[in-house]
């Protein structure tokens, strides 16, 4: 499972992307966030306020209940500010 980070989420985590292999009980975006938050203090800081985190699964915006599986590309980032 490939996880990408953008903007200040990336700054907290310290890397732009990483390959991860969460245990089988991680089934959705919310579960993945819980699991990632335990990986390092940087991850914990990045995911400290879940309300400010947005996610995409395979390049589509996805809510906390969206399923995640091995082989997915999952991204975490703040609310977008383009335009």
């Amino acid at each position: 499972m490939r996880v990408l980070y953008f903007a200040w989420v990336k700054q907290h985590v310290g890397v732009a992307e990483e390959e991860v292999a969460p245990p089988p009980e991680v089934r959705d975006v919310a579960g993945l966030i819980d699991w990632l938050a335990g990986r390092s203090p940087g991850h914990a800081a990045a995911f400290a306020n879940r309300k400010t985190i947005r996610a995409a699964v395979n390049q589509d915006f996805a809510g906390p209940d969206h399923p995640v599986t091995a082989g997915d590309e999952i991204a975490f980032f703040p609310p977008v500010t383009g335009g």
Partner: protein
Amino acid sequence: MTPRIAIQEAPFDLAEETARLTEGRSDIGGLASFVGLCRADDGLAAMVLEHYPGMTERAITRIAEEAAGRWPLFGITVIHRVGRLPPGAPIVLVLTASAHRAAALESCAFLIDWLKTGAPFWKREELADGESRWVEAKAADDAAAARWTAA
């Protein structure tokens, strides 16, 4: 009609993009454009734009297709710059062409409202004092995008 979508560091040329949409045809009655520029608020030294390569193009393509389904358009161009941009620099261009003005004007407003909330770009402000801060998303932008789904 295939929308022209580009994510680039280079500036865009409004006249060139307009000519690209209109050249050799005489069925276009209205051409609407919006250019968003980098304002020098509060001691801004530069705006740095980050995006999610792949998803950005995909998201913009999808909304351009939605615009093409809602309005009878002959052309759509969306160009969004990324990287470090100085105050006064153009950031984004939306250009729409139709037989009639209302379709061009409305679809142009729809696209820029949506780009603000639905495309994965993030802005960071570099200040003159060396500080740097991420721009926060605005509730007003969500409201502006939402009015197109409420209708």
